[in-house]
Amino acid sequence: MRIAVCIKQVPDTEAKIKIGADGRSIDEAGVNLVVSPYDEYAVEEALRLKEKHGGEVVAYAVGDDRAATALRTILAMGVDRAVHLKDAAFAGSDGLGISRILAAAMRPEAFELILFGKQAVGTDRGQVGPRVAELLNLPHVSVVVALLVEASTLRAEREIEGATEVVESPLPAVITAQKGLNEPRYASLKGILAARKKEIRVMGAADIGVDPATVGAAGAGEVWEKLELPPGRSEGKILKEMDAASAAKELARLLREEAKVI
């Protein structure tokens, strides 16, 4: 089975967020970068499918030099080889641009299954998986919590409000992974050593046949004009050192008379 998994390198979720000098992005100085957590579920699922069905797992990431570290991390988990999509023209890509880059890079490979995380933490767009499916004319199932792949079909469960949808699709197909799909493995020492020798192929816009004007900041549909810290909430009324009954009574009164939510 030929499987692709697409990952993104993102700031650690615990990182302190500072607005950059341009006022439109975060200041990444000193920020720890990690593989986006949902992508780890996608990598784990790809590896399990390879273990069951045989074949190859190829990873893709769009990003600057630093993204190679993220690819090395998942090569250590057991991914066979990686493609690092790196080009000055890719900088500032939104969901529209990233999906164009990934679709162009994967198109000639004819994968049977392409896996993504349901969204990258940070930008939280949740678009790229379904977009790539559309660009490659493949069916997709997003936010998947259970997956069964057999011969040429898949059966996936996805969560919707208050219910679970069971979806069946022929392969090839695109899946986006949600927490609950599996428990991602840690890289073993052997895996880490083996990863050093695995191939990371670097490809730019010309190599994958993408017009630079359709990606990066030049081709973006979602343009971040300004990035700000969220408006601070005014200081709350915190009831301290009161007995439970009086505190509960006062809180209920405030919620009814002042906040008007009861």
Partner: protein
């Protein structure tokens, strides 16, 4: 680019014969935007038998309601729904598409935007129109920053966070109801929903609730969630939980609020025994009124709380439930 000169189209989601409230929020916001632009507002219903829902949309003031019906559209299919939505956009000359950012809405928005080579701003909490240009705001980096977005492509796709926008009633409009011919080759739809299983969890799903009472690590075990449920019932709201409570197996993961759970924006969010880790705040910080009940006066949750009690939740919750019941009965 980015100027919205044409019409606005709002996708209306329905399930089991009922229009989702969050779609009425999106439609209300669409009306407001269309008024600011002097453009027309279309509502789009997609399903197997959804025409009957058209009349119920009149109070949110669409100029037209487009109805796309086909047997196979009775269950959500990204491929089929995206084709229908894209053809509705082309036919109406729409320059902005609004959807509620539900599970279905987020999925559909991405696939349809790709079909139309358009930009999409996901999970927005504010829509503004200035000088004929559309801008939206969306929380990013787990709610620790807010991006103001303009659009470099047309149409602009916008998904709106459920509960973040009001449903506004307008009177005196009777929209024209038009049938939209379904031109997609439905035989070519590959991914199909074969079953929908209702959640076995709680009564009300957190993403649609107007109030949520959530329990965290201090609940200590599944048996104590009864205290949370009692208060939620008294408020007519839903039961939520932190990751710690879900990972401990005390409550269904459908209830999880936060980065790896659901993002919610109810009118009232009561956090009980939840310290307020960044990952939890990411899921609830845009709630309108936040209440924290926690023993630890230094818990980070108090920093974003509008109201709070420093105290033992096992003593406070039963009293609060009693008090809420009493006030509701007045």
């Amino acid at each position: 680019m980015g100027n919205v000169s044409g019409d606005i189209l709002v996708f209306i989601e329905s399930r089991l014969g009922l229009t989702k409230r969050s779609s009425l929020e999106a439609l209300s916001e669409g009306r407001r935007a269309a008024n600011a632009l002097g453009s027309r507002l279309h509502a789009l219903l997609i399903g197997s038998a959804v025409g009957g829902l058209a009349a119920g949309l009149a109070s949110q003031g669409p100029d037209t309601v487009l109805v796309a019906e086909h047997e196979i559209l009775g269950q959500y299919s990204p491929e089929a729904f995206a084709s229908v939505l894209a053809s509705a956009v082309r036919k109406t000359g729409t320059s902005a598409v609004f959807l509620s950012a539900t599970a279905l809405g987020r999925d559909l928005a991405a696939r349809a935007a790709a079909k139309l080579e358009a930009g999409l701003a996901s999970d927005c909490i504010e829509v503004e129109i200035t000088g004929g240009e559309l801008r939206v705001k969306r929380p990013v980096y787990s709610g620790r920053a807010v991006a103001t977005v303009r659009f470099g492509t047309t149409p602009a796709f916008v998904s709106l966070r459920p509960n973040a926008f009001p449903v506004v009633q307008v009177s005196g409009r009777s929209p024209a109801v038009e049938t939209l011919a379904v031109e997609v080759d439905l035989a070519k739809v590959r991914a199909r929903t074969v079953e929908v299983r209702s959640g076995e969890g709680e009564d009300i799903d957190i993403s649609e609730a107007s109030s949520i009472v959530a329990g965290g690590r201090a609940m200590k075990g599944p048996e104590n969630f009864g205290l949370i449920r009692d208060l939620a019932r008294a408020l007519g709201g839903a039961v939520g939980a932190s990751r710690a409570a879900v990972d401990a197996g005390w409550i269904d993961h459908q209830c999880q609020v936060g980065q790896t759970g659901k993002v919610v924006a109810p009118g009232l969010y009561i956090a009980c025994g939840i310290s307020g880790a960044i990952q939890h705040l990411a899921g609830m910080s845009t709630s309108k009124v936040i209440v924290a009940i926690n023993k630890d006066p230094e818990a980070p949750i108090f920093k974003i709380a509008d109201y709070g009690i420093v105290g033992d939740l096992y003593e406070v919750l039963p009293k609060l439930t009693e008090e809420v019941r009493r006030l509701k009965e007045q």
